[in-house]
């Protein structure tokens, strides 16, 4: 039986790992991630979770050990901000080795303690899948789904599920904990992704031979990862609807969540807790008769470009909120990705961009309402400058 408990976001993350029956956890403290591994340590101390838990000497080693452990057992690690940057080097190896490791990232700025999305954005091209969460329930649910998506044979890529630090990590709200038997039925036991045991030497050597075969196109490593990441879009949708059947909850189609987007002229686009704040802003605006909805990006990698093409054909303007910046390029990272997705449309909507919430700067309902109003103005064909602004 599922049960409810009031818990902080970090505990919800720990529950996800526990319910997935992870067998290896590598831990290293960094605010605001630390209590995840503390909760897991408690769960193991109480006999609720049977896993090997290792206190590593740094995040680089956390990532490296969880990577090799994932050749054999379901593995998990977690980090934040600068810790994630320290993992960057082995993260590329984890995708090269195609190991379905799952990691939780509690967003922390790379320049300060407060949250923004620069930590995961800095890992954008490592080849990891990345799923954003808006609340603690979504963290728990997405964590469980992440294992299933990552381990799917059509995907087999390491996966990050993530949420904003402090706003989620240390804030309590009621969370439904699914029953273990139901999670077991939803998420099958871990399958070793390839031969690594000594008695499998012959098979393993063949794989190594392929890896280093000079007659194979050297670009294949990336090409295959790209195919897998693109395949993931289908798998994410499947897993999302299967999860809904089992547990009665879903987050859009798993790639984007469209909130009150029927018959709207414009939509605000956001990720993470800004999207959850935006829901209140949209409620208030629609109550006042404003025809503006919300699109929450659920999957950042793979990027839901098909969904944005569909949505872009239906609205006249999109106001994109980016909790990040790619300096030297006009506009934030999801703004750039969305404009890229929209390019092939015959009639493209106007696109506006707002840098907001960097280094933990608060993004309030009123801020989002103002952004939405500006987007509506653009939808009416009025002049709205600047195109990209710092909110």
């Amino acid at each position: 039986m599922a049960k409810f408990e009031v818990m902080v976001g970090n505990k919800a993350v720990a529950y996800a790992a526990k319910l997935a029956r992870v067998k290896f956890v590598s831990a290293f403290p960094i605010t605001p991630q630390t209590t995840i591994v503390q909760y897991l340590a408690e769960m193991m101390a109480n006999g609720e979770l049977d896993a090997d838990y290792v206190n590593m000497e740094g995040e680089l080693s956390c990532q490296s050990s969880a990577m090799t452990a994932a050749t054999t057992v379901r593995s998990f690690t977690a980090t934040s901000g600068p810790g994630l940057l320290y993992m960057h080097h082995p993260m590329h190896m984890t995708t090269w080795a195609r190991l379905p490791l799952v990691m939780a990232v509690v967003h922390r700025s790379t320049k300060g303690m407060q949250p923004d999305h620069m930590d995961t954005m800095s890992q954008r091209d490592t080849g990891w899948l990345m799923f954003e969460c808006q609340n603690s329930q979504e963290l728990l649910d997405t964590g469980i789904m992440s294992f299933k998506i990552a381990e799917d044979e059509r995907v087999r890529l390491p996966t990050i599920f993530m949420g904003d630090g402090y706003i989620l990590s240390y804030t309590s709200e009621p969370v439904e904990i699914p029953a273990q038997e139901e999670v077991d039925a939803f998420l099958p036991p871990y399958k070793r992704p390839y031969p690594m045991f000594p008695e499998e030497a012959e098979e393993a050597m063949k794989l190594m031979g392929q890896m280093w075969n000079p007659f194979v196109d050297p670009q294949n490593v990336w090409k295959q990862q790209q195919e897998a990441a693109m395949n993931a879009k289908t798998v994410i949708k499947e897993v999302s609807s299967e999860f809904e059947k089992w547990f009665g909850r879903s987050y859009g189609n798993g790639l984007v969540e469209e909130y009150k987007c029927e018959n709207v002229d414009a939509a605000v686009v956001a990720m993470g807790t800004i999207a959850s704040t935006a829901k209140t802003a949209i409620d208030q605006l629609q109550r006042d008769g404003k025809k503006v909805g919300l699109v929450a990006i659920k999957s950042f990698k793979p990027f839901p470009d098909d969904d944005f093409q569909r949505i872009g054909a239906e609205v006249k303007a999109l106001g994109v909120i980016d909790r990040n910046v790619s300096t030297g390029t006009l506009g934030g990272i999801t703004f750039t990705e969305i404009r890229h997705s929209l390019y092939d449309l015959d009639e493209r909507p106007k696109t506006l961009n707002f840098h907001a919430g960097l280094r933990g700067k608060e993004v309030r309902v009123e801020d989002i309402k103002r952004m939405a109003e500006k987007t509506l103005k653009a939808a009416r064909g009025e002049n709205v400058t600047p195109l990209v602004e710092w909110a």
Binding site: K23, D52, L60, S61, S65
Partner: protein, 298 residues
């Protein structure tokens, strides 16, 4: 408990290393790989990191290639923990790692794995520089050696600093097993590997592996140079078992270091005073080892 020398003839004839490789002529590292693979054999899962290993280590056991140069300790931790979790503690997680990946960039992971007493066998083949990238100085390089990043010139005498005393550093972690070995003394090396193989926990062997390419001597003399290093005290053979030190090969009298230094192009420039300085260093260290022999390391 201690290791006992094992003659080469006692080793299984089966080879776990393919007969051809792309190592340099006279590569002592490939001797290390061959001996380790014969002793650990079919129980081995190997970790590799950036080093000459990919050139000579064509061992027919599963291997995880480590793009992560600094990650040997952590990656072997992941393997050992995961295998043990599945009840596969018969698998011997083995690293054949160069001196850079052990003593420099890999040092944090080495020390941490030793501290946690992870179940792994870490064999460092020490060629005293980053030989795979063309012979750059490492902290394992001997003082005054010329490397491509410590060239000798009007204002430079080669490497300025002493070699990092890694075996002692690992020994003071009080790991189950720590030893030095040399390709010139395979019986001693095999004995140490056979002792270490079944031991649970962290085991470390640092093997002297002279590099003709980087040290600049005729490739036919790799084993001879290694032997002279042992006989002169430049590379003492000893082991530390749970904190207790034992010299495993004791020459009656040490040969002067001068000849073995002078036989290598990398020391061609050194003066008699510089030789004397190294000699004093070696004599001092040997005297301390003799003092500690049969007793605790610290």
């Amino acid at each position: 408990m201690m290791s006992k020398p094992v003659p080469l003839s006692k080793l299984d004839e089966k080879e776990f290393i393919l007969p051809a490789n792309s190592a340099c002529q006279g590569c002592a590292g490939s001797i290390v790989a061959r001996i380790v693979s014969k002793v650990i054999g079919k129980d081995m899962v190997r970790q590799e990191v950036a080093c000459c290993g990919p050139a000579f280590g064509n061992i027919t056991q599963p291997v995880f290639y480590g793009e992560v140069f600094e990650g040997a300790g952590a990656m072997m931790t992941g393997f050992a923990r995961a295998f043990n979790k599945l009840g596969r503690d018969d698998i011997r997680v083995t690293g054949i790692i160069g001196d850079g990946g052990t003593i420099d960039i890999g040092f944090q992971g080495l020390s941490a794995s030793a501290e946690r007493n992870e179940d792994m066998l870490w064999v460092c083949y020490d060629n005293e520089a980053y030989m795979n990238t063309g012979g750059q100085r490492s902290s394992a390089t001997t003082k005054y050696a010329e490397t491509t990043t410590t060239p000798v010139g009007e204002f430079s005498r080669g490497k300025k600093e002493r070699k990092k005393p890694l075996p002692i550093l690992v020994g003071v972690h009080r790991v189950p097993y720590m030893a030095t070995a040399s390709v010139a003394y395979p019986e001693d090396f095999i004995g140490k590997l056979q002792y270490a193989k079944p031991v649970k926990g962290f085991r470390f062997i640092q093997v002297s592996a002279p590099c003709p390419t980087g040290w600049r001597f005729d490739p036919m003399y790799s084993v001879k140079v290694a032997k002279e290093m042992v006989l002169s005290g430049l590379w003492p053979l000893y082991e530390v078992v749970e904190g207790g030190l034992r010299i495993t090969y004791k020459p009656k009298e040490l040969k002067p270091v001068k000849d073995v230094l002078r036989s290598q192009g990398r020391f061609r420039h050194i003066t008699d005073e510089e030789v004397d300085e190294i000699q004093a260093e070696v004599d001092g260290f040997w005297a301390r080892l003799l003092e500690k022999d049969g007793g605790p390391l610290f």
